[in-house]
Amino acid sequence: MNDGIIWLTFFVLSVFVGIEVISKVSSTLHTPLMSGANAIHGIILLGAIIVTGTTDNTVAVIVGLVAIVLASVNMVGGFVVTDRMLQMFSQKKKPLKKEADA
């Protein structure tokens, strides 16, 4: 099977998953959702690690390390800040957000 097609298929399917999975979110959760998604694309850290670890060119290594720092700020910071936000929604509130959700 053609390589490009495979990647295209992954892409297309993921697009549908991405849209459908959040299609019924309530405005209350927009910010946490945004920042959670934001944290997820911090996974570029994985890419940064791979390229940095597999190059020998000094400049490249330095740039790579910068990328790693930035990426891990994105990833770690993102998840932590999201969790902090979500903590705020106490037990008490859940039912409201539920109905807001429905």
């Binding site: 979110v25 405005s27 998604a37 934001n38 994985l46 890419g47 390390l65």
Partner: protein, 461 residues
Amino acid sequence: MAVPTWAQLLYLLCGVCFILALKGLSGPKTARRGNLLGAAAAVVACVLPFLYLDLDHVGLILVAIVVGTIGGVIGAQKVQMTQMPQMVALFNGVGGGAAALVALLELNEHLSHGDDPNWFVWAATAFTIAVGAISFAGSIITFAKLQELMTSRPVVFPGLPILFGASLIATVVLSVLLVLEPSMWIGIVLGLVGLLVGVLLVLPVGGADVPIVISLLNAFTGLTVAAGGYVLSNTLLLIAGTLVGASGTFLTLLMARGMGRSVTNVLFGALKGGSTLGGGEASDRPVKSAGPEDVAIMLNYAERVIIVPGYGLAVAQAQHTLRELVDVLIERGIEVDYAIHPVAGRMPGHMNVLLAEAQVPYEQLKEMDDINGDFKDADVVLVVGANDVVNPAAKTTPGAPIYGMPILNADEGKQVIFMKRSMRPGFAGIENELLFEPNTTLLFGDAKDSMGKLLNAVKAL
């Protein structure tokens, strides 16, 4: 660097976890669990390459990770709720920057090994560099605006549209060049031009629309990461990036609808000169103001009171005192509700977070659509540190930056009381006619202490 099957399976598993994380995040019950699941998956994924590749510079890499982690955690812990949006913007920006750098490095690898993959890989590389840079620069400007390191008003200067157009074209041209004959220089220049585009894209956006822009840039970064995944032929990056790109785009549209704006209008409104803005300086027109005692009496003899909380409540941290006040009123048999505007404050759901923190029982929190019909029956509408969300200009003044945003019908209340410190306008920087209505009374002062005074006055009655 062929990936062993077990690692591929784990990557796929992490992808599934990301899907479940997003799914969880979109439901109130499951949001927190979802986020943690995503975090776990991300960590696992980042450990994998250490296991199946024999990486060089492991020490340096680990140091870099630690540095970044510390930075992220500190930032995330220190930030106040009111500054969440700019924090998200910042995190998003660095992510985009990282993606762009990764793409540049990969470009360099390909060139130095003299291998030439099919043109589509070069295209994806160009995309990652350009959009990553745009997302980086745009997010930084957004951060500056929200952090008030610069004005939150649209910044428009004569040449801007042309300059913007030019830089856009330059980006496209450079990308094509990169595909035709790849070279490091083109890549770097492309990145720089991308930065310019990012700046010019966000400058003209009014602060009120900033959350929409953050969400959009978030989607951009997602797509960049996806493209990066293709370049590195790593499925997880592709899937995760695409997930974020797609859901982010969708979320952007949802939010825009929620604020009554169209995305193109948000981005290019100011360019088109669509949204002319007020100066935002304090007005000196006469208003009716009163002391806590008078307001206390109004409240005490009301049967139905609606509270409209806004950004000011958040900065003053007056939510706890407010809650006490409401409890007293309810004890006295007065019917009190909070009217929550979806974009009250500085991020969607800001007020819900705030009042949740103050342990306000959820039955008292009413969504905009549910309560807008009740304002006409309200004897007193108490507007605490809110402004734009009750500004009739959203209905009446085409061209106002908030025009078209659905608002709370506070103006329908028999009596309207504003608690604010001055006559300065709200976030959107435009005057609020409601302040000058005959049935409007102002109670000046920082929300926290005037709320305290008000509480005592009510108790005294």
